[in-house]
């Protein structure tokens, strides 16, 4: 064993450690990116529907005996785009995409809240 042999061994161990670290970092990043959020839509205090906030655009209408609200899901977020209530506050609340964010439509008694997926998030706890 010569001096350079040791250098080679140490070098390879360092490189593999570095690659391992980079890889772990990338994996955790991917995990965070792929974490899909869920929005809970509550009507009159009862759970109406749970929807996954997808990147793809999807629209549906919540029809109740009080009125109807059209909801649009896109870019991992959700917003109310049309409402037949009189104050349209739910429309003005805009687009939400963070866990814990809410949209309410008081006249129609609709409550939309974004919840994280099964893994608890520190933001969710502190809110």
């Amino acid at each position: 064993m010569k001096k350079y042999d040791w250098l080679i061994i140490i070098g390879i161990i360092l490189i593999s450690g570095l690659l391992f670290g980079v890889n772990q970092l990338k994996l955790s990043q991917q995990k965070r990116d792929s974490k899909e959020l869920i929005a809970e839509i509550t009507v009159k205090g009862q759970l109406y529907k749970q929807v996954v906030l997808t990147k793809e655009k999807q629209e549906f209408t919540i029809r109740t005996d009080i009125g109807k609200n059209t909801v649009s899901i896109h870019d991992n977020g959700i917003e109310v785009i049309e409402s037949d209530c009189h104050d349209h506050i739910c429309e003005k609340m805009g687009f939400i995409q963070k866990p814990g964010d809410i949209i309410v439509c008081l006249p129609n008694k609709i409550f939309i809240k974004i919840v994280g997926n099964s893994e608890g998030d520190i933001d969710e706890v502190s809110r």
Partner: protein, 181 residues
Amino acid sequence: MKFQDRDKFQKINTRKIIFIAILVSQAMVLSIIERMIPVSFAVPGAKLGLANIITLTSIYLFTFKEALSIVILKSIMTSFIAGSLSNFLYSFSGAILSFFVMYFLILLGKDKVSTIGVSIVGGVSHNLGQLIMASLIIHSFNILGYLPFLMIAGIATGFIVGVTVRFLLKHLNKIDINKNI
């Protein structure tokens, strides 16, 4: 005079051809034996790389062309006997990359790096070549994340191979392969 020269040349050549053939067959036997030794319990996919003994020995003993021909013959023949086409692609890319890396390492620092260092670098580059080939085939570079584990395994197996080559060379150097009979 001319005839004698050719005669001499041919004799040396025959001697060398036989030696190369012996080395190639030894490499084939070693890679078949290697399949019987399970070392992949710690790192799946890791191998002892016993055939690397022959590659490294031939780099020390022969010229570039001869050693390269041994490496190419070795991987083709081994795949013919035990292996499939994809198997051949993996082992061939790994063998060629590790051959070039080891050759230039020896060329640059023959008296600075011992056989152990060279064989460790060769083993790691063999893994690298295989993984690059595999990622090209399946169009995904995610398996390169597996490289660190293979690299650590490559240090251990490369060390074993390097020690073996050192002992082997000590004895083989007693034979003058270029000697005329």
